[in-house]
Symmetry: C2
Subunit: 752 residues, 2 copies
Amino acid sequence: MPRKDAVQKVTGEALYIDDYSYEGMLYAAAVRSPHPRIRIRSLSDSKAKKISGFVTLVTTRDIPGKNAWPLVTEDYPFLPGKESRFAGETLALTVAETPEAAARAAQAVEVDFTELPHVTDPFIALGKNSVKLHGPDNVFSRYVIQRGEAALVDSDVMVEGTFSTSYQVHGYLETQGAIAFPEPGGSMTVYGSMQCPFYVVDAVAQALGIGHHQVRIVQRTIGGAFGGKEDVPALVAAHAALAARKTGRPVKLIYSRREDFLSMSRRHPSWTRISYGAKEDGSLTACRVRYVLDAGAYSTLSPIVLWRGAVHAAGPYRIPNVFIEAYAVATNKAPCGAFRGFGQPQVCFANESLIDELALKLGMDPLEFRIKNALREGDRTATGQVLRGSCGLEEALVRVREASGWSRRKRQARRSSGKIRKGIGVSANFYGVGLGARGRILDRAGAQVQVLKDGTVLVSVGNTEMGQGSLTVLAQICAEALNAPYEAVRITEVDTSRVPDSGPTVASRTTLMSGNAILNACEPLKERLWTAAKELLVRQGSDIQSEMQAFSGRFRIGTYSVGFAEAAKECWQKREKMAEHGWYAAAPTSFDARDGQGDAYSTYAWSANVAETEVDMETGEVRVQKVTSAHDLGRVINPMTAEGQVEGGVLQGIGYALNENLVYRDGILLNPNFTDYHLPSTAEAPEFKTILLEHGYGAGPYAAKGFGETPLIGVAPAVANAVCDATGVRMPQLPMIPETVWSELKKNAEDK
Amino acid sequence: MPRKDAVQKVTGEALYIDDYSYEGMLYAAAVRSPHPRIRIRSLSDSKAKKISGFVTLVTTRDIPGKNAWPLVTEDYPFLPGKESRFAGETLALTVAETPEAAARAAQAVEVDFTELPHVTDPFIALGKNSVKLHGPDNVFSRYVIQRGEAALVDSDVMVEGTFSTSYQVHGYLETQGAIAFPEPGGSMTVYGSMQCPFYVVDAVAQALGIGHHQVRIVQRTIGGAFGGKEDVPALVAAHAALAARKTGRPVKLIYSRREDFLSMSRRHPSWTRISYGAKEDGSLTACRVRYVLDAGAYSTLSPIVLWRGAVHAAGPYRIPNVFIEAYAVATNKAPCGAFRGFGQPQVCFANESLIDELALKLGMDPLEFRIKNALREGDRTATGQVLRGSCGLEEALVRVREASGWSRRKRQARRSSGKIRKGIGVSANFYGVGLGARGRILDRAGAQVQVLKDGTVLVSVGNTEMGQGSLTVLAQICAEALNAPYEAVRITEVDTSRVPDSGPTVASRTTLMSGNAILNACEPLKERLWTAAKELLVRQGSDIQSEMQAFSGRFRIGTYSVGFAEAAKECWQKREKMAEHGWYAAAPTSFDARDGQGDAYSTYAWSANVAETEVDMETGEVRVQKVTSAHDLGRVINPMTAEGQVEGGVLQGIGYALNENLVYRDGILLNPNFTDYHLPSTAEAPEFKTILLEHGYGAGPYAAKGFGETPLIGVAPAVANAVCDATGVRMPQLPMIPETVWSELKKNAEDK
């Protein structure tokens, strides 16, 4: 089925947040902190007032509610009162009649402050004598997962390594933006570019001190998000809402790209010290991981990002003894947050790099070694969870081996020499679908389905389309459930007043959660439609006892048939209830905070990647030529969007592996733009070979699982393994920009 | 409970349709026909094109769908292709960058036409040789209701009379207006001032040739409607949508007050020839009615208006023999339509005037005569319907007799003489609640109720707030059903994509229909809330076996108690489904088109009015000093809004009785403004004495019935009866403007 939103996005017909304006609308701009940590003495708008069109300055005094953004913890104020903790933090908002006046006024606001000592390195932050940003040790969050013996017992062979990764930004099309529209009676509607409208409800209600029934959040078309519009839009929306509340007029707040770079969430830099042990026969015996994330100035989503990383840190393998400890540490930089993969790509780079080292040490083919140890049905994960089925990893590895011509390529690579060297590498990964035990309470979703009197169908969900294709997949699920034509199904814009809090649109949970909620809503509707169709067929002359077939939008008994629209109209003639709310709460999960044991996720997606690269030995440049990847996502609802997810995820993974990097100097970001921050383009796109596997998940809609994030996770280690295959040198950090690769090659040559 | 929207309406915080604008929005204006009937040869925008800001002319060629407004019949084109049928009809639309340019362009469009013969008097239209506008006889619709013997059998006394009424306009605050917003993929959202958003869906979908799932209609705050925003907003919205479709930009279309007067619906002028027969003991034996409505150029809602008038034409009395025939006739004037009372006030003026004549002839007190004949439980109406209960007419008459000091006042009036004469008059009426048998298919409504995680409640319905207080009453019903605090309940703006087609907001059906749909949605939510509350109380220490009390927003067992919000939060902790759609289809009704027999409505509201007037014998001026009215509306959900309905209805009824009149000369309206069309103001307001009676309707929400329209219906005849009481002269027509009254007094004096 074609994407529901394809044409309008390609033609430019789709409207994004900045395409909307309202009568009497004002514009807000942020006054931002110039230093990593300051004590604010005062803010003055006396110069700003001289700017034509300036309306007001919004400060902490204009927050009628609680000045604390409700996230996992409430350490992040909507506006800092006394102390600002990162360069780029919003200190106040100017409001003016034009965006230009607002921006000029923001520059003109005088901030009287003193610089405070700051810390930007998490290992310094962990030190006893560090500046303290959070608690006694600057640790926002820590987890331990312990299974079996803590030591690397029973191991014939051991490997150990330290791996680090840097920042990655989401690179979504349009920057953060919101329009707050004050409604009568103190209510507030906010339109914006966002993934998680219900987080925005929480924030706007808390900032304004009003009930959730007074807050309505509407998602506008969004040009990609990748986690970057998970939490942050709530802050942007709250700021716009505070300005709208103060002025009584609609207020638009749109970030410049520079502002977006300075203040928005990004993928956490990480340090992973990891060791694996194995028997001589190649069976893994033990894994130890120490995983540290640089969380930035406020906690935001770090506890959850860290948890997902920790749960997956040992890799998708059968390992009896596991000890994982994980930390998220406070520093004076912009808070890191959600990003496709959510704490997994960092640690996957470490474990999948080291698994290759272990195979090498054991003299085994790294792909075969992975197949040998791959988690299968009945095995236990690092958290002790017994896998009850839907485990496609082994097949994924086998299929990429075949599809990539692994052995032949491996031999070719081994022969490569000279300036340009070819290599091939593999990686395996898994991905717990949904929020899992750490987000259990939020792991529910609603949907409403209405069959209209002309035989069309309107669906509302609480999870958002952000480019991943949910509009399309959910429409297909609904059409299938009701036997309605796909074209007759429309998904409305997400509006928090339409469906109950359906949790965030993250964690590849939309197909599973919203899909199941739609099916739940369809059940009683289906019954009424089937009854009406049968009655019409009997009226046509068919036998009442005969079984009715329902497919392709028609209902049939023998040669008699009626269409979906006729059945729907008949239901309306009978004045039947043709609208239903549906609901789905994820299957039970558990996690014991003491030892990290439990059923962390209700199901997992599985992937294997083979990357083929060329390395320029003189410049350190790496080029990815082909990525063959296989993915078990359960039932594939829409192969085209699934392939799109793979290709986008692989390319974003290549950017993460090779190019993308934020550079800070003493807490100040040096490259807040797309000239100096290099996103991969189609010019860097490799040949894609995508294999979709369907190890169905019984509790999923039509046995589907989730899939948005998995394609990215294993790309960087597959590339690193290929680079190592080509050069013989293990790359210990991401991104593998030419200078880093060149340095490593040089160091290695010198060591020899 | 205070009105939910009171403060925002009084402070001006409420936003009406003209308060909204969108980026890139254009403005439309109507090109209107200058004559009652023309043949259109061509339209030219060559002069309009010279106006700066002119964008385009929208004509029949720009209608991608079907050029027929879907109402009861489809005789009204969105834009007339060849023939226009009334002066003021929209022939085409100009679209421009400013409203001023659009209006100037509309004036500049050259219409090449020829005048055609026209007819403006329905009795001429009924003649054989008349111009034919509809079918062979210009009759849009006709009904016959026949019960018992057609002749006035068994009557000792007979009276007969002919009564006529003129136009009344709704006088809502803001004129007709809509903004059409084109959405990606050919969809269309229209915001507007309207009573019946689902009618607008039908029209916009048909005009654009798209599915209902592609059309979303949102009601904006509305400053009164009274039926004037029942059907017409669909035409306004369709025009705006056609302009938006053609230009690809949002288009606003707002009528000037003059345009509104020229083209909008209004109360049908009527002619009623009526006779009653009674026995000497004062029991009614027979009634014959011939009821003719001047429907205007197109059928619109006339068939339904006529039906309601016909069903109620014999009055709220026990009459064994009834013969009613009713006609709606086409003429070349703006189509008449819905107006508070919907075909009843006209015929009620006739029957209640004549009932007084009959009482006079029998030598009985007119109030006692009504009590004697009033319909009671077990009686049959004119359509043969047996009343199964909830009949408060007798009590209403008894209560107004007492509260008005009827006998004493009557004696005082009898003594009045000289220039200013006092009189007192009574009337009785009933009102079938909801759409009844003629609108049975539409008589259903949906609602959705969501209990949010902070313990607030969001309700969406398909019926609109138009000043009648539905926001307040429905919030009370929901709060009561869930044991939630009233303040925690919010009703969202009506948006057709939120709830299924809930029929029109007319016929005083909102409390009954949407109220019951809300109760239906609350049932499963209540069960979950009660269970959670009980669990919390047991956790507090209360006995699991004890019965729980739920009232005033708290749940109690003995001394333990939890609030509604706590119970709601507990449900969310349990990940319970906290949103439900509710549905209600009205109780069965029937109507046999052959003899007009059947259960026309599922229940009736009942009213009695006593009016006290002063008549200036020299000028013919009538002043209403006091209206005492009693109303059986079933359970009174909100006494304050109910009293507001009575006071507003009575004052509008006084306007209908004494002031309001559209004056046409040969099909051209002479007074299209509020200077020449006189609405009563608070200066004309009488003393109101309101009595609310609660003869509960078992199937209503908390036994409530509907109530919006009844207060107006009986006012004019009560005033006319008081005028007759004061002057001895029977007024045969409305409005009783001074010149008419003076003429009647003079004629009567001359006759003597």
